[in-house]
């Protein structure tokens, strides 16, 4: 035993306070790389200032209190950058919430301008706000007075308001006349293998009949859940148990007959979970100084992960799971599968028997991995 110095004692107390405030978790809580999350306060503030000049709609009040105003249109198809930018801002600001008075503080996310939102964007936004609400001990309170009626209906259907413990509002489910019927989101953790069955029941309730080839979608969903268990939240990133969630929902559009199923996790992303030692990755690493190659890294790795059955384990009998995701669309011979992970997009579509694969890279990342199945129900 040794008596510690006064200086050491103060250091220990400061450390204890930081731990209790959750600073040990903040460095690694999901999606965006830890390098990005460990940015100093000034970087987070400058990131906000920088994007505020572009497409980020934020107002800053006294004591660096920020309100984010969601854009009119949120989706990952036609309005990707603006949609992701606002969701990313929520993540970054909620991560920096205990950085002291010098850092911007997120106090509100305003939905008043929002007029249309895709099922996938609604799910990701819900997941992000749920994460923020968990981080501040469920103190968020919805203020819906100026919300668009259709948006309100969508979020009621999605179960958005059930997130908030601090909510005493009464919602009229009959409001709005949107043709889009949403399934209340399902939140699961690693090993929740029975939950895709719940989704099937809810979809049948909406559509009124079984969906042809559903068993292949079910297989894809269970594989997505297994992938979350194995790859999305690795121990090396020190995710807390509460962070290791996945989210699932579905929607059916009465007018277009489009069925959409959306699965989302807030993990490290598929490109980051792949091995860096394969030859191709070595080439990429060598060429990483060339900006165009580096910029496309997530896009290329994502495509390779799906097409080459690669896996972070390098075992020959593994890495088939991403192929399982394609099977529902392949079997139906109509529709598309989109996988968005970090800055990459992989999209597989079939129309009139013709297959097409599209990849794309973006400037801003999705925080984790988003999988979207879309099929039109003709039967």
């Amino acid at each position: 035993m040794k008596k510690i110095t006064r200086r050491q004692r103060h250091r220990d107390i400061r450390h204890g306070i930081l731990i209790r405030r959750g600073h040990h978790l903040r460095k690694h809580c999901g999606g965006v790389s830890s390098r990005q999350e460990e940015r100093p306060i000034s970087s987070i503030n400058s990131w906000i200032d920088n994007y505020k000049k572009k497409h980020l709609n934020a107002t800053i009040a006294k004591r660096k209190r920020i309100t984010l105003h969601l854009p009119e249109e949120m989706n990952f198809c036609d309005n990707y950058e603006v949609t992701v930018l606002h969701i990313l801002a929520i993540r970054k600001l909620s991560n920096s919430r205990k950085s002291g008075n010098k850092s911007y503080r997120l106090v509100s996310v305003n939905f008043d301008n929002l007029r249309t939102i895709s099922t996938s964007a609604a799910l990701v936004l819900t997941a992000e706000l749920s994460k923020w609400d968990d981080a501040i001990r469920q103190q968020l309170k919805p203020m819906i007075d100026n919300w668009d009626a259709e948006i309100l209906k969508q979020f009621i259907d999605l179960g958005f308001f059930e997130l908030f413990r601090n909510s005493s509002l009464v919602y009229d489910k009959s409001e709005g006349s949107s043709p889009i019927n949403l399934v209340k989101y399902i939140k699961g953790q690693c090993g929740d293998n029975s939950k895709p069955r719940v989704l099937k029941e809810k979809i049948i309730e909406i559509i009124g009949e079984k969906v042809c080839k559903w068993n292949f979608l079910h297989g894809g969903l269970t594989e997505a859940i297994t992938n979350v268990s194995h790859h999305a939240y690795p121990n090396s990133h020190e995710f807390s148990k509460e962070d290791k969630n996945w989210y699932l929902t579905g929607s059916y559009n009465d007018a277009t007959k489009e069925l959409k199923i959306v699965f989302y996790d807030q993990g490290i992303g598929i490109p980051k979970s792949l091995p860096a030692s394969d030859i191709w990755e070595k080439v990429l690493s060598v060429l990483s100084g060339i900006s165009s190659v580096e910029r496309k890294r997530d896009e290329v790795l994502l495509k390779a992960a799906v097409e080459l059955e690669r896996t972070s384990t390098k075992q020959s009998d593994r890495g088939k799971g991403l192929q399982d995701l394609l099977e529902f669309i392949r079997q139906r011979k109509d529709g598309y599968l989109s996988i968005l992970s970090l800055k990459g997009l992989f999209k597989y579509s079939i129309s009139n028997g013709k297959e097409e694969i599209k990849t794309e890279h973006f400037d801003q990342p999705v925080c984790g991995t988003l999988i979207i199945w879309s099929a039109t129900l003709h039967e």
Binding site: W214, E223, R318, K320
Partner: protein
């Protein structure tokens, strides 16, 4: 000849590779259902569509091909001792996958260490 219904005798939601992936994993199916019967020398009929919604490849690879990978039985012998049954035509896809994974497995290529150990 023994008969196993995956949905009724094992789990209505078979999914995942290891026991650590939750209930109904391929590892649990292999070790708790298939291996004890195979050890007796009997043949097995396996009903794959009885109350089951579908399968992911992680379950199928670990549950079936794992028997070969861990050296319990050779590829040929396993294929001769199991019969995959279904009534839903969509499940033919999984029968084909099971046979494919068994054929691709490398006999005794890995030592089995339980995921929960």
């Amino acid at each position: 000849m023994k008969r196993i219904s995956v949905g009724k005798d094992f789990s209505p939601d078979p999914a995942g590779r290891y026991r650590t992936d939750g209930e109904g994993s391929g590892e649990a199916f292999r070790e708790d259902c298939l291996r004890p019967i195979l050890d007796t020398g009997e043949k097995i009929e396996i009903v794959i569509d009885d109350g089951v919604e579908g399968y992911g490849s992680s379950f199928l690879v670990e549950g079936f091909a794992g028997l070969v990978k861990y050296g319990y039985i050779t590829n040929e012998e396993l294929l001769s001792r199991i019969e995959i049954l279904y009534t839903d035509d969509d499940f033919e896809f999984y029968k084909i996958k099971i046979i494919e994974y068994i054929k691709q497995a490398k006999y005794s290529s890995q030592k089995y260490i339980g995921s929960s150990e």
